[in-house]
């Protein structure tokens, strides 16, 4: 059996309604999650609003954490990032591409969770470095800033379909490089 991480233990306690655990989780994760919201939304007031929304979701959904197959920090980041992307897109009046949190609902038995070892991190970054620089930037823009295909096409001044082709090829190359 894998040992429970500190954050994982907090999530288990939060699922039982432990407000002290929630307070501790907030203290040790809010700076990162606020950073995610700020980067995606580029506006402090909106980022603060979405940060609160994300923690309310965490409070209500903590009981479902253990069945979703993601490592605890990935789960928390996914909630904040998806909330921020949804807000960004609703503000832009583009109701498509919603990131409603599938992974919060899943009840399937997941495969073993993978921790973020420095090895896998280097692996992703090394693999991004094998891509042409603007293609790596497009992948990073989609993940770190929540950019849509339309946003990316505009930023890189290419037609939408070209951007889609670029990015899909980049993802295949990344997967080939990182392996399964």
């Amino acid at each position: 059996m894998r040992e429970l991480s500190e954050i994982e233990q907090m999530l288990i306690d939060i699922a039982k309604g432990n407000q002290q655990a929630f307070s501790e989780l907030y203290d040790c994760t809010s700076a990162k999650l606020y950073g995610v919201c700020l980067r995606v939304l580029e506006d402090e007031a909106t980022a603060q609003d979405v940060l609160q929304e994300a923690y309310i979701k965490i409070w209500h959904k903590a009981a479902q954490y253990q069945s979703n197959g993601l490592s605890p920090m990935t789960w928390l980041i996914t909630i904040a990032r998806n909330s921020a992307i949804d807000r960004r897109r609703s503000q832009a009046s583009k109701p498509t591409e919603s990131m409603e949190d599938y992974e919060l609902e899943s009840q399937q038995d997941g495969p073993e969770q993978c921790a973020h070892s420095s090895q896998t991190q280097r692996q992703l970054e090394d693999c991004l470095n094998t891509l042409e620089p603007d293609r790596a930037d497009a992948v990073k823009g989609a993940y770190l800033e929540g950019l849509s295909y339309a946003d990316l096409a505009e930023q890189f001044s290419v037609p939408l379909n070209t951007m889609r082709t670029w990015l899909r090829r980049s993802l295949l190359k990344l997967q080939g490089c990182m392996g399964q």
Partner: protein, 226 residues
């Protein structure tokens, strides 16, 4: 992981938030039954999360945590509906009136099963001190209204409304500002809550006489998927 390259790309696009709404929903459905698709999603979610060092940490202002703690406190102060029948309030005219309005719009009071919210609407009035949370449990067709802050108006009653997309507002009844309300909903619009907003208006005592908001709108907020 024996997924096809195409499937892997779709999983990566889903993780990044690049799929159209219909394609994202189709992928979510697939993950419910296909462990390979789910494993592909986890693979990408975990690998991309390794980029998280590139998000600069930033300490949020103090008041965010205080507001969250107040929210949690209000949650723990909630009176379960099953205990309400032991209280005087249950038989008070105000409660009866609220129930009557609720019935009038095709909703009835019920003892909730395990309430698990899929949607939340956090209504904050800019013109009054009113703060109300509305949760919806789509699977069990339950609506839960939690007044967090505010006092009753001397000028009338607060009425809660929901609008799907650009549709006309539909009444969810007069708010009971002193109690958490849980009501069952057997209505088709529950399916449209991903594109909905709710509002509170000030109406004459007993609620809007026309079935549409007639008084000032005090708060409006989008419904958010949890």
């Amino acid at each position: 992981m024996n997924s096809s390259p195409e499937q892997h790309v779709i999983a990566a696009e889903y993780t990044l938030g690049l799929l159209s709404s219909a394609d994202a929903q189709a992928f979510e459905q697939k993950m419910q039954t296909d462990p390979v698709a789910k494993a592909a999603y986890i693979y990408w979610a975990e690998h991309f999360a390794n980029l998280s060092d590139q998000w600069d940490e930033s300490i949020p202002p103090e008041h965010i945590k205080h507001q969250l703690e107040n929210y949690l406190k209000a949650q723990s102060d909630v009176i379960p509906l099953t205990k309400l029948d032991q209280k005087e309030k249950y038989r008070s005219p105000l409660w009866a009136m609220a129930a009557a309005v609720v019935l009038a719009v095709g909703i009835w009071l019920a003892i909730p099963a395990q309430f698990e919210a899929n949607y939340q609407t956090h209504l904050v009035s800019e013109t009054t001190d009113l703060v109300v949370d509305v949760f919806v449990d789509v699977d069990d067709k339950q609506l839960r209204i939690e007044p967090l802050q505010g006092s009753a108006s001397l000028e009338g009653d607060y009425e809660l409304w929901v609008a799907i997309g650009d549709g006309a507002p539909m009444s969810l009844g007069v708010l009971d500002i002193n109690n958490v309300q849980e009501i069952s909903l057997d209505v088709s619009w529950l399916a449209g809550l991903s594109n909905a907003h709710m509002a509170i208006s000030l109406e004459p005592k007993g609620g809007s006489p026309t079935g549409q908001p007639t008084g000032p709108v005090l708060a409006v907020a989008d419904t958010v998927a949890l």
